[in-house]
Amino acid sequence: MAHNGDVHANVPAFVVNAIPGPVREQAVAMGLKDEDCIFSACSDIGLDDGDHDNWVLVTAAGVVTLAAGAGGPPLRGPFGMDQIRKIRLFQAVGSAFLQLEIDGTYVDVAHFSNALRDTFSRLRSHVEQLVEGKPLVDAPGGADSRRCSSCGLPLAGGDESCPRCKGGSGITARSIGLMKPYWKFSLIVFLMLCLRVALSMIPPYLVKVLVDRVLEPRSNVEWLLLFVLGLLAVAVMVMAINVVVGWISSAVGARIGKELREKLHEKLLDLNVKYFDRHPAGGLMSRVLWDVEYFHAFVDQVAGGFLLNVMMVLGIGIMLFYMNWQLALMVMVPIPLVIVGTTLFWKHVYPKYYPVWETQSKMAQHLSGVLSGIRMVKVFGQESRERTRFGETAAKMKSARFALQSSSITFSHIMVFVFGLGGLIIWYYGGRLVLDSRISLGTLMAFFSYVGMFYGPVHALSMFSNWMTGFVSAGRRVFEVLDSDSMLHESPRPAAAPDVQGAIEFRNVTFGYEPHTPVIHDVSFRIEPGQFVGLVGRSGSGKTTLVNLVCRFYDPQEGEVLVDGVNVRDLSRQELRRRVALVLQDPFLFRASIRDNIAYGCTEADPVAVIGAAKAANAHGFISKLPGAYDTKLGEMGAGLSGGERQRVTIARAIARQPQILVLDEATSSVDTEAEFEIQKALARISRNRTTIAIAHRLTTLKNADRILVMDSGSIIERGTHRELLAGHGVYANMVNIQSQLACIGTE
């Protein structure tokens, strides 16, 4: 038995592991020869309870599973290719099975962890090709297309960059980078802060001269007023600088906040639908609304807090050493304690920020859910339950905030105490120096002034770590959204826009919301321009997934979706959206006027176009009877209109854009019969000369479709016109019969 690729040099490098000796011996004992084995794979979970590795060997003749070193008969098989009806990966919870359909029953041939899903997915594909007698072709993209090529980490999105290899995000550095466009302002602020620090040095020195030259010797009394005026002038200048720096930092902070919010909003609009499947809307709102606030505060802190304090500490430190280096050293005694305390504080407090954010986000989610579903809450009488749930979240927030703030306050007061110790040392040591006449009283008093000014910024800097932890947490959450690669990437060189005709083609499309759990399998069909095609099938058969792919909310894992002959991946997003319009089962309307809602996808739509679209959608009649007519402001989710009216407005919105492809996903299933009749009339009108895909459970609505595709378990199982399918006595005919019987019951 040779390694697979050696023997079958013409076969692509399939799923191959080097077969260990004991497995080879077992295979040879079964009569297999080296050249028989085409490929093989080792699973990481045993089919039996033994500790042996399980190996799946595939030959041209069949499939067998062996337990390495176990001896005896194979664990499963050998199964001849002619015995195998189907092959599938069965996803269990936390692991998966490779199964062969033998005599109408699926038999497990390998059990593996999710880490090996890629490997066995490819093996399944290859065995399928062998069973069907097709030439062996490796899956597009190769085995590692969903993994980082350097570290092997599975990547969440197809084109996502590897977070492990990308390295740290450097939140602080990136935040400072946001200030780059404002470097001129930053320079002005810096220069003004230098001046501010220099001015701050003057008053204590004036105090020293005042005490030593005027107050203690009681001479030069006329200088007193001059000193006071000098102190006043310094205070005025410091105030003026503070105001100007405050203005500039507020202006820059506000601009950065605005830009960041816009960036986040833009990013959220660009992210694919899958991202929103995984991230609750309330949490994302919290990031845009609250976390960005920290960036505004960051600029204030950098300009007015951190930078000023650092400069003050440096400036005053130099002044202290200049005046008396021994006393200055005494001032430094508490500093190591501050550094140690701050480090511990950082470690201790940092994690306490997360629950605060989390509860804040949960509260936003709760409110968003309750307020948007307020009717449900009331109709089910769940006010009390919601009150309790909110109370629980509020209590968690209270606990989280208390834990955070109690730590902060404790730390702050300990620091005040430590600085107080410094003052006592200066009193003792400085007092001795004055008594020994080694320094003047004025020098000691000036020292005290400087020490007050020195410890203030040091304390502020120690507390800066507290603020900084909050900022870093918020920054991480903001950059996580901005850095997310969960997007459907546009081709850097989009294909030249083909003529708008409305042709749709699926070529061997396989797709699953989870990569290894396909929802539709190998689906191929073509819809000619202007055709009306109905999609029917049970719930969960893959109908909506199919139209999601036409709209390119997701990209298929295998195969291609083409619109007017071009792969939708190669079309610019604008170009695709221009061609396709979608009407969903649940009509979604924005809190805006009816006119704005109809013109939503087509901002250039003038009143004539809006009225035209409304007339085509059979909506003009009821709109014109409203007191505000087209200017009527709608409430949340279209409140103020009936279900049928809302749906007609959404249809008007879809056709105002004049798309060549119209997708109707259960567009009439949530309205009453009368409203459905009105909507049907509208749809019949607007689908003329326009490619239309309609998903419907009420099969009568598809009677006149050019073609009907019947889906089941992710595949198209029947296709034809209504008459052809009825004549075929298949699944569709059965569905029609059931609905006819139900209709009869209704009329009896």
Partner: protein
């Protein structure tokens, strides 16, 4: 307000039609060809290729176990539901438990030795029933889910499942290490 008698009535009502309960009296579970689980109900034709799933994996892991089998169309159909597995003969219990063990591949975490956060990834060093292991998960909300009243289910980058059945049962230091990062 539902009274005790009403509950009994409700159960009876459910048994009448909507739930096919499997009991030791009406169902027999055994191992068939290819080690597949088979189930015979009320003496009818046995169903092969049966597998078991938990209907309440977190709150009632040993009760409400559904037995399913494949349909020719590629879907699954329910053979019935076992309410109390311990009522079945020991060998049948073992077969069902073995099927459950195959279906649910989870590592149960008993100690958390280390959790490090780097580049939006959490690197775990833990003890499970298999011994000491390391795994990496994305530091994202949906990767650590609530499990029962006080448990957490972690999904690593490969979608493998690591389970802490009761957070309060972890040693205090382990719990602190864990909740420092998984705080939700």
């Amino acid at each position: 307000m539902i009274m005790a008698d009403d509950v009994a009535m409700t159960d009876a009502g459910l048994c009448d039609g909507s739930i096919d309960w499997l009991t030791p009296e009406n169902a027999h579970v055994y191992e068939g060809a290819f080690s597949m689980l088979c189930c015979a109900v009320n003496g009818a034709e046995p169903v092969s290729g049966v597998f078991a799933i938990r209907l309440f994996p977190a709150s009632f892991p040993d009760s409400y176990i559904a037995l399913l089998t494949d349909t020719p169309g590629g879907g699954t159909t329910e053979v019935g539901i076992i309410q109390y597995l311990e009522e079945f003969p020991v060998e049948e219990q073992a077969l069902v438990r073995s099927s459950l063990a195959r279906h649910y591949h989870e590592q149960v975490i008993s100690r958390v030795h280390k959790v490090e956060c780097r580049n939006g990834l959490l690197f775990f060093d833990v003890d499970t029933q298999r011994g000491r292991e390391q795994f990496v998960m994305r530091w994202e909300y949906d990767r650590a889910q609530e499990y029962g009243a006080n448990g957490k289910l972690l999904l690593d980058v490969e979608e493998n499942r690591f389970l802490i059945t009761d957070l309060a049962a972890l040693p205090a230091v382990d719990k602190r290490r864990f909740t420092r990062h998984i705080y939700w």
